[in-house]
Amino acid sequence: MGIIRKLFLTSFVLIFTLLMGCNDPTPASKLEYSDQPPFQENIYLFGVHPLHNPKRLFEVYQPMIDFINARLQGGKLRLEASRNYAAFDKKLFDGYFDFALPNPYQTVTSLQHGYRVFGKMADDENFRGIILIRKDSEIETVSDLKGKSVSYPAPTALAATIMPQWFLVQNGLNIDDDITNHYVGSQESSIMNVYLGNTDAASTWPPPWLAFIKERPEVAEQVIVKWQTPPLLNNGLVVKESVPKAILDQVSQSIFNLHHSAEGQQILAAMELSQYEPATNETYSRVEKFLIEFEKRVRSIRLQP
């Protein structure tokens, strides 16, 4: 009797204890926040205007950033994309970026917001707008566009929107009255709209178009470039005034010598670019003039969000 009892109780107690003491958790840690960045690292934001969606942008431009960072002492560039032109414009005009690669319009405008030009994309010849129509479209002349719709990336896209609009105006169209303008946000979106038939024509400029049809040849089958605008200046490289000269010089050095190395050429190839070249504010006065003209005759740009 005694033995059984003992056995019984012992086992009961043992098991009970076992159950109680369960998983041994990893020690809890308290969450802490502060207003200061933990690591004082010199990060310089490099913003590229949303000629591509963020993912694509990173794919195309991150290699260049990596290239620059590998040769940069005393700081690091960090690439940042933007949702759309509006977001990019806001960031740029707020002085958020340290470096930026805006379009010519944004380049010029940025000069008002603490930036200055230190370089630019070469291949100005490519900086023109193109208007696309479906192959099966009956549009022959610009006047055929009357009463039709056209898709543009963003109102402030220089090559993709402003220059084609100037072209249409030069060719007798009244932008506001004769056509319906759809600002669809991105180059790709613009192209897709005409491909899908949402609009009768799409406005974009060569780099995204070339990239697009590389990726989607079936689109190239259906859509053609109807008109080209005369070229202007390509995208510019601006830097915030507050960026230290040492940094700027190293960055400039790296960027402008890209085309001298195989690696750099590869990087440039992804951008559909031959090279970057130095430039100044002065270089973009032509653009400024054009913009003023456009604003007079077509519509206001800077006031638009």
Partner: protein, 777 residues
């Protein structure tokens, strides 16, 4: 260990059931519950982690683009979607500066992480080299939450990371609930099992105790106690068996009582019978006692009668033999005397024969009486069996020749010469059978076959066979002939007492064998018997018993001194006989007519040798012998008793009295000569010598002359027969000789009788009759 287990197993059933069942059950349930809960907990935890991981993956994927664009709006949209998860305590997206760029708690957006664990994580991320790991890591974990972080990657480049804290409290509650439930169930199970066990045990033990109670009652003598057969199967069986056993026991008891009763009655009966027996016994004893007394008297009477018979026999023996002794003795003397003419000698021969026959008759009758009185005994001594056979055959040959029939001896080479047995009886047997065979055979012959059947160095089994070509015996008569006084009808004319075969059979039986008869009427009969004898131990020299083949004693040898022989004998005839026999050969003889006179003469005359008769008046032989022995010189004198006694014990008496030897009456003269020769170591001159000296040369010459006159054919025949020892042929030849050749006939006959074939051949050879023919032989 084993003892403890055994101990446990021998506890009361109730305890075993209750505590055993309960504890076992509890342990099992508890273990099961624990395992299940543990598994469950683990499972839940794992699921929580997985879910967290999945969510983090989703968050990272969704927020990737916005992190690239540093777009707070987009990020906020994404984070807001996550608010749908009820168990999400917070979700956040951090950039590589450690800045919160999205958070379910909007107040945190724009702040930098500053706690060690996350800083460490950030450092880790920044320090990683490609290829980069996109892995969710549990950065901290408590009972209440799990903190999971996952890096946001793009093209092998960190952009930032996502953080999710998932609430575990519900899970914990769930587990706690489960534990509580299992505990409750365990307790319930325990309780119920104890209860059930208790009731089962109670039931079982109650029944068992009931049964034990019943057994006790039975043991204490309650005849009507019976086990209740209702209950648990096993107990019911036990009860049933118990009841059956009770019944069986009751029956046995009844049977036992019954048998006890029967036994009692039986015993009473027995006691009664015993009493009767005892009474009978006592009666019997009395009867027996009376009978015994009667028998004792009768026995004494019988013994007395027997004794009387023996005395009578002894007396008879003596009375009959004594005159016979005289008859035979004197007639022999006369026969041997040279003074009596030959013609008269025939008459003497008749007298002798008659006397011999009479003696034989008397001997037979006495033997038979001895046998019937049970007084016959074997008188074993070492003797020459060969000589016995020869002598007997010789004796019988005479009769056979007279009848013109053959008597052949076929002796096996292993047949012994010297044996230890009863010579007299054996002689009697042989004589009886041979004489019978000869008696009943008219033509042909009788063959005596002798064999050794068994010889084991001390004992021998000898086999004798007497075959005749006689008239044979009918089967019905074969048994009859062995009966005393029975004679076959056709043999009524034959001589004989009718006792011969009866005695022979008795003697053979005494020697350890039996006689058998095979007979074909008109063809012949075979009588055969075996006897058990021993090998002789002493080497009996031929010269001792025989006196040179029974040669006639003529006189003492020339160089012998004067020997004084005292004869103590009361009968006049015997005196004269002995005196004549002894004086004849040159002994000095004096006669004493009784024992006393004998003693006196011994003292005065000093004889060398005393012949002492046994029965004499005044002083008998034994007393005289004893007396003489006591006298000076009494030890040197040779005393030989002459007794007609037939009984061995009487002869022993004689020896005990001091005699050196004894000779039986009737005796032959040569027996007397022999005895004296042995005891006095003296020598005789024999008739043979004398005769051979005298007659040999005569007969030799005679025979030779006569042989020369015979035809060659006859001579050759004789030679041939002599060469092979053919007595029959020789006898025939002798028979065929003309009567004119009387001397040749007698000479040859003598030679043949003496078995002197060598002499015959020696006689013939020098005749040189046709040598070639002789040689061929």
């Amino acid at each position: 260990m084993i003892k403890t287990v055994q101990n446990i197993l021998n506890q009361s059933i109730r305890n075993q059931l209750i505590w055993g069942a309960a504890s076992v059950l509890t342990i099992i349930i508890t273990v099961f519950a624990y395992l299940t809960i543990h598994n469950h907990s683990q499972f839940l935890h794992q699921k929580a982690v997985e879910e967290s991981q999945n969510r983090s993956l989703m968050l990272a994927a969704n927020s990737q683009v916005w992190v690239m664009a540093n777009d707070y709006v987009g990020l906020e949209e994404v984070i807001t979607n996550f608010k749908v998860y009820q168990d999400l305590i917070y979700a956040a997206v951090m950039n590589l500066d450690g800045k919160v760029i999205a958070h379910t708690d909007q107040s945190r957006i724009g702040q930098y992480i500053s706690d060690e664990s996350r800083l460490n994580y950030l450092k880790q991320l920044l320090a990683q080299t490609p290829p980069l790991q996109n892995q969710a890591v549990i950065i901290s974990q408590t009972r209440d939450y799990i903190d999971l972080v996952r890096p946001i990657l793009h093209n092998n480049q960190f952009l930032g990371w996502v953080e999710l804290r998932t609430d575990q409290s519900e899970r914990q509650q769930n587990i706690a609930q489960t534990i509580r439930n299992s505990l409750i169930f365990t307790a319930l199970a325990l309780l119920i099992s104890i209860l059930i066990a208790f009731f089962l045990a109670e039931n079982l033990t109650k029944q068992l105790y009931q049964l034990i109670g019943t057994m006790r009652r039975v043991r204490n003598g309650d005849k009507n106690a019976i086990a209740d057969e209702d209950g648990v199967v096993e107990v019911s069986q036990l009860s049933q068996e118990f009841n059956l056993m009770l019944n069986s026991l009751k029956r046995n008891e009844q049977a036992l009582q019954q048998s006890q009763q029967e036994l009692r009655e039986d015993i009473q009966q027995r006691v009664k019978v015993e009493k009767e027996i005892r009474e009978l016994n006592e009666n019997l004893e009395n009867i027996v006692k009376d009978r015994t007394e009667a028998l004792q008297i009768q026995k004494e009477k019988a013994e007395a009668s027997n004794h009387a018979k023996s005395i009578f026999l002894a007396n008879m023996s003596h009375e009959l033999r004594t005159p016979l002794n005289a008859i035979l003795g004197f007639s022999t003397l006369l026969t041997q005397s040279a003074d009596i003419p030959e013609s008269e000698k025939d008459n003497l021969k008749i007298i002798n024969h008659s006397g011999e026959h009479l003696l034989q008759l008397i001997n037979d009758v006495l033997d038979m009486s001895k046998i019937e009185a049970g007084r016959a005994q074997l008188d074993n001594e070492d003797f020459d069996l060969g000589e016995l056979v020869r002598n007997t055959v010789e004796m019988m040959k005479v009769r056979a020749d007279e009848k013109g029939i053959q008597l052949l001896v076929d002796q096996n080479s292993k047949f012994p010469r010297l044996i230890h047995g009863d010579v007299a009886k054996l002689r009697q047997i042989l004589i009886n059978l041979l004489s019978n065979a000869i008696k009943f055979t008219a033509q042909g012959g009788v063959t005596l076959r002798l064999e050794t059947v068994k010889d084991d160095a001390t004992h021998l089994t000898l086999y004798f066979e007497i075959e005749d070509s006689g008239s044979g015996i009918d089967k019905v008569d074969i048994e009859r002939i062995f009966k005393p006084f029975e004679q076959l009808e056709n043999a009524a004319s034959q001589k004989g007492t009718g006792l011969g075969l009866a005695i022979t059979r008795q003697f053979v039986q005494m020697m350890g064998g039996d006689i058998q008869v095979k007979s074909t009427p008109k063809k012949g009969s075979i009588f055969c018997f075996s006897i058990q004898v021993k090998h002789a131990t002493t080497n009996i020299s031929l010269t001792q018993n025989t006196d040179q083949d029974g040669q006639l004693v003529i006189s003492l040898a020339d160089n012998e001194p004067e020997w004084r022989i005292l004869v103590v004998e009361d009968q006049l005839e015997n005196q004269l006989l002995i005196q004549k026999v002894l004086k004849q050969v040159g002994f000095q003889v004096k006669i004493a007519e009784n024992g006393q006179r004998g003693v006196e003469l011994f003292q005065s005359w000093h004889p060398h040798f005393i012949w002492m008769d046994r029965r004499m008046p005044i002083m008998d032989g034994l007393t005289a012998t004893k007396a003489i022995r006591k006298l000076p010189g009494g030890d040197k004198v040779k005393i030989v008793a002459l007794t007609a006694s037939v009984f061995k014990d009487q002869r022993q008496e004689v020896m005990d009295a001091g005699s050196d030897d004894f000779v039986r009456k009737p005796y032959r003269p040569d027996e007397l000569y022999d005895c004296m020769a042995r005891h006095l170591n003296l020598h005789y001159r024999y008739a043979k010598d004398f005769i051979s000296e005298q007659n040999e040369s005569d007969s030799f010459n005679l025979t030779l002359e006569a042989l020369e006159k015979l035809s060659d054919k006859s001579v050759n025949q004789i030679y041939r027969a002599a060469l092979i020892g053919d007595i029959q042929t020789l006898n025939d030849i002798i028979q065929s000789l003309p009567e004119s050749q009387a001397s040749l006939i007698s000479g040859l006959r003598k030679l043949v009788d003496g078995y002197r074939f060598d002499l015959i051949m020696a006689l013939i050879k020098p005749l040189g009759k046709d040598e070639t023919e002789l040689n061929i032989l």
